[in-house]
Assembly symmetry: C2
Homo-oligomer: 352 residues x 2
Amino acid sequence: MEYRVTVMPGDGIGREIVEGAVKVIKKIEEKYNHKFNINYADIGGIAIDNHGTPLPEETIEMCKNSDGIILGAVGGPKWDSLKGEDRPERGLLNIRKELGLYTNLRPAIVYEPLKNASPLKPEIIGEGLDICIVRELTGGIYFGEKGVKEDGTAYDVLSYNEEEVKRIAVKGFETAMKRGKKLTSVDKSNVLESSRLWRRVVIEVSKDYPEVELNHMYVDNAAMQLLINPTQFDVILTMNMFGDILSDEASMITGSIGMLPSASIGEKYGLYEPIHGSAPDIAGQDIANPIATILSAAMMFKHSMGLPEEGTAIEKAVEKVLNDGIRTRDIHTDSTKLVGTEEMVSLIVKNI
Amino acid sequence: MEYRVTVMPGDGIGREIVEGAVKVIKKIEEKYNHKFNINYADIGGIAIDNHGTPLPEETIEMCKNSDGIILGAVGGPKWDSLKGEDRPERGLLNIRKELGLYTNLRPAIVYEPLKNASPLKPEIIGEGLDICIVRELTGGIYFGEKGVKEDGTAYDVLSYNEEEVKRIAVKGFETAMKRGKKLTSVDKSNVLESSRLWRRVVIEVSKDYPEVELNHMYVDNAAMQLLINPTQFDVILTMNMFGDILSDEASMITGSIGMLPSASIGEKYGLYEPIHGSAPDIAGQDIANPIATILSAAMMFKHSMGLPEEGTAIEKAVEKVLNDGIRTRDIHTDSTKLVGTEEMVSLIVKNI
Ligand SMILES: CC(C)[C@H](C(=O)O)[C@@H](O)C(=O)O
Ligand SMILES: CC(C)[C@H](C(=O)O)[C@@H](O)C(=O)O
C-alpha cells in the first residue's frame, strides 16, 4: 500500500527528532514493503520566518492530503515577543482546529527500565503506571470567544455543547474498553456551568458502556490524586484546559517526558507529536531524546493507517534498546550507556 | 483589647477541628489577657439544613461584625445531588465575594519532622520546601457570567480587569518582599486573552518592587515544575482557577495537607480555614487532624488582629508537639505516638 505522510519539524529540537521518526518510517517501508511518500511542511516559528504566518495555507493543504502527520514541536525565545495571533503556538492550535482533531490521547507510562526516573517515591509508583489521558482538543476556553472590552476587561469564554462533549466522551469510553475499563471524568462541576453539562453528558454516554467503571473527580482533587495514588487511574477524560495541566503533570510523574508520544485525532485526520516542547536551549547539539517522536510514529501506524503490527515493531525496538541500557542524556544514569540523538535513532532502526 | 471572632464549623469534620481552634483561642485569651467574643454561624450543608440556604443573611452579618473569621470546611455526600446555586460550596464562594476576600494565601510548607511524608523523593525536597501561593479569590471564571444558552451550550466567562489584577499583584509582591523576594506569576498567556492582561499588569506592578525577582510560567509548566523542582519557588501568584489546582498540588507535595492553613483576605475582613476538605468519611470519630485549623487561627492573629506574638506562640506550640513525636492518624508513622483529635488539641494548648 501507498501512504502519504506530512512531516512538520517545527522549531528547536523539532528537526532532529522528526528526522529520527522519518528514519524509522523508512525502515518500516523497507521491511514491510509499503510505500510512504513523505512531504515536509512548515509550522510555528519557522513558518513565521519563511511565510509570515505560523500556519501557512500550503501546510494545511498538505496535511489534508495525507494519511498521517508527524509534528516535532513549536516555539522558542525568538518569537516570544509576538502577540497572540502571530505566535508559533497559534500554528499548533489552528491546525488542531482546521483538521478537527478533537481527541488528544496522551499516554503516561512508566517504562520498566526507567522506573527510577519518577520524582515520586517507588512505593507510590508500585508495579508501574499506565494512564491514558483523553483530552478534548478543539473546544473549551482555548477556542471560545476572547477579547478585550472597551473598559479594558480581558475575557475568554469557556463553552461546550452536548455534541462536543458527547463525541469526546465516546472516545473516552472506547479507549477505556480497549484498556482497563475504568474511566475517571475530571471536571469542576461544583463551580462551572460547562462542567455540569460535561458531567451530565458523560453520565448519559456511560449508559452505552455498562462494562466501564465510571467515576467523577474535581480537577483540584485530580491534581492531588495523581501524586499520592496515580495507579488508581486507567483513562482520564477531561476538557481542553484541564487536560493541558493534568497531562503535563501526569507525564512528569512518569519521569520520562522525553519518551511520551501523543495522538490528536479527528474524524478524518491524525496528527502525532511528542508531549515535550521544542527545547531551544539544546537544539542542534545531538542530545535530544528522539524516542517520544519515534513512538508518535508508532501511534500513527496504529491509529491512522491501520498498521498495528508495524506500530508494535517500533515499540518493541524501543524497548529492546532501553533494556540494553542505551540512554540519551535526559534519561541517563550511572550504570547505563550515554548516546546522542543520532546514535539512539540508528540503534532503534537496527532493532526493527 | 476586645476582639470579635466568628466561627463557622461547616460540615463533616468541621465541628471537631474548629473546636480545636476555639480552645487555642481561649488559651491565648487567658495567657495574653485579651478578650475574644466568639460567635458561631452556619455555612454550607448545615446552613442548607437549618436555613434552606448555604449562606444565610445572619451569617454574612455576623462575619461583617467580626475582627476575624474561622471556617472549618463545607460539603458532603448528603448535599451532592443539589444544583449549583444551592450547594454547600456556594456558601463558601459567596462569603468570599460578599466580604471582598480577594487574596488567598496558601502556604505549602514541609514541616521538618514530617519530611518523609512527601510523595516526592527526598532528593527533590532537599532541605525543605516553603512556598506561598497567592491566589486571586473573587474574580476570574469562578465569578464570571455563566449559564446555558437556548441551543444547550453551557458557558462560563473568565474575565479580569486591570484593577483586579493590580490589587492581587500588589499582594503578591508585598508577600514576596516579606519572604525570599522571588515571585513566579503563573498564567496561560500563549492561549488566553485574560492571561495576556494578567502578565502585562504584573509586569507593570513589578516596577514598584525592583528588589523582587519576577518570572513568568505557563500553568502546564508550573504543574510540572512543582514535581521536579519545587524548591525553585518562593511566591507563586496566579488567578483563581489555576490557584485552585496548583495550590492543591503544592499542598499534596508537602505530604502534610492536614497541617496547612490558609488565609482569605480583603480590605476589611479576613477568613481563615484549613486547606483540606470536610472529610465526611471520618467525621465524629476523633481522628481528624486539627492542626491546619489551629494554624489558621495563628494566621488570623497575625493578619487580621495585629497580634503576631500570639500567632507565633501557637506555631511554636504546634512545632513542639510535632517534635515530641505526637501524631494524628494522617501523619502517624511507626516511631511516633498516635493520638486523637482532642488529645492533639490538649497537648498544643498545654504548650502555648
Ligand atoms: C503550546 C500550547 C498552546 C499547547 C496547549 O496548551 O495545548 C501545549 O501546551 C500542549 O499541551 O500541546
Ligand atoms: C469548594 C471549592 C468551591 C473551592 C474552590 O474551588 O475554590 C475549594 O476547592 C477551595 O480551593 O477552596
